[in-house]
């Protein structure tokens, strides 16, 4: 990896939000490939951050600052992407289900997906089945990402999938689920297309599920 990429990656991991724009600009000026800056530095850094969070080495405040730093870096690179590269990898709707207000994890997933080149429509929290179905019809996303942090709101995910089926929309959109109490077993049981334990996994999954487009 070049020094530039290495420095950018370290800045995101360290949450050095004040420096990131300058570092990314230097890398661009040095002629580095914008796509490499995104994938091998900005996103790669968040993979490390996600893992450190999972291992209990860092906590939410540090993770949020890294995410903000990544976003600031992205803002500098994005305008430099050329035709093919700047095309979205796909559209994602992100939402926390009805009755649930927890959104920190969902917001991180949204930021990471955006960083990875997806067009993300974050609908917020406490989204009813009807509202979600409505939005799926209007936006026609490739992926619907659902977050739930309460055991009491997990069943809402199943309700959403049921409603997608009833409306004949189930094969038009991939459903990703996540949130602390959710696991792979539950995801399979309710017929979701994938489960991600953290934001980095969410990106991998989204890439895989939209494979044709990536």
């Amino acid at each position: 990896m070049t020094d530039h990429l290495h420095t950018i990656k370290a800045a995101v991991i360290g949450g050095r939000h004040g420096e990131i724009k300058g570092l990314v600009q230097q890398a661009l000026d040095a002629g580095l490939d914008p796509a490499a800056i995104i994938n091998d530095a900005l996103i790669a850094a968040m993979d490390v951050v996600g893992k450190d969070f999972g291992d209990g080495k860092i906590f939410v405040p540090e993770m949020l600052v890294s995410a903000v730093t990544m976003k600031a870096g992205l803002d500098v690179v994005k305008p430099c992407l050329t035709g093919g590269e700047s095309q979205s990898r796909g559209t994602v709707i992100m939402a926390t289900v009805k009755g649930d207000l927890h959104d920190i994890g969902k917001n991180l997933v949204s930021m990471m997906l955006e960083g990875a080149g997806f067009k993300v429509m974050d609908l917020g929290t406490d989204l009813s089945v009807d509202k979600l179905i409505d939005q799926v019809k209007t936006i026609q996303p490739d992926i619907l990402g659902l977050s739930a942090l309460l055991t009491t709101t997990m069943p809402e995910m199943q309700n959403v999938i049921g409603a997608l089926k009833a409306q004949g929309l189930r094969d038009k959109v991939k459903v990703l689920v996540g949130g602390a109490p959710v696991d792979r077993v539950f995801a399979e049981k309710i017929g979701a297309d994938g489960y991600g334990a953290n934001a980095a996994e969410a990106v991998e999954l989204a890439r895989r599920l939209t494979g044709a487009k990536a």
């Binding site: 906590f59 939410v60 405040p61 993770m63 949020l64 600052v65």
Partner: protein
Amino acid sequence: MKLNAHNLVMSAMFGGRRGPRPAVGNPTSIACHGLMEKAGVFFPEAHLDAQAMAALALAGHEIVGFDTVMPEYSVVQEAAALGAQVDWGDRDKMPDVKGFPNADFSAILMPQDFLEKPSCRVVLDAIGILRRQVGGRVAIIGKVMGPWTLAYHMAGTQNFLLAVGMGESAKVTRMLRQLMPVTIAFINAQFAAGADIVVLADHATRNLVGPHHYKEYLLPIHQEIMAQVGGPIILHVCGNCADRLELFAESGVDAYHFEWQVDAREAVRRLGGRLSLAGNINNAQTLLQGTPEDVFRQTRYAIDAGVHLIGPECAIPLSTPLENLRAIVAAGHEGYR
């Protein structure tokens, strides 16, 4: 133990003697649908009406057999009084804060009539009712949010934690210091209204922040709160806090209310000499989804480990079966081995 007249006298009265069985208590809510039906009182009335609030708390003693009554089921009573926009929910939904008045970290001033705001008054009145009904027979527990939790409500959790991460310590400390008098005033008012014990709930949990954050920002504030309140205080911080138990002991609180994720034996070994331990029965797996036998077994483990006040680890899910709460009481009544 804080060295004040009340605590010294209470300690002298019991002289370190304990009864034949551990106390069964709930520092946080044990309101569930089963209990609401038995008491004939439901959410949201139980958050808003003092009679209803007290009746539901009393049911925890009369119907389930807990040795405590704790009449506060939400975590937003103070935030509502400070001007946060609260949705009081319904039978199936806990109250939530909807709008954050201080997302911009603007100054928070405690209103002169803070204790008279309906969402505070209702708790104080409910404690008074319980005092008249069971004072001296059943331990009355009050509950107050600490400055860290209040900051989540007033500024928004993510927003507040981002400021912490950004190292904006002046901003963070200012907000915590502005909220500290709120916590102190409400704790002292709950003691004055008749509480025997007050829970200080402050969610600096490992799921969100590290021990270094607690030590830097919150420990000094907790120490100052302890200097300005009387009576026994139980600290509640949920999540796996095994990485910061000793810091909690440094705060000066009398007891720590902890989750199943922290092994009871380890907690007693590390803290038992310095403060009392409360709670420990797992909510999500055992109380909500387990059988009464599972609950009984886990409770016995905690008792044998030396946990002093046995009960759920945190506010229980609303669909928790009543039989499972009763199993905690049954295990407690088996006494010490």
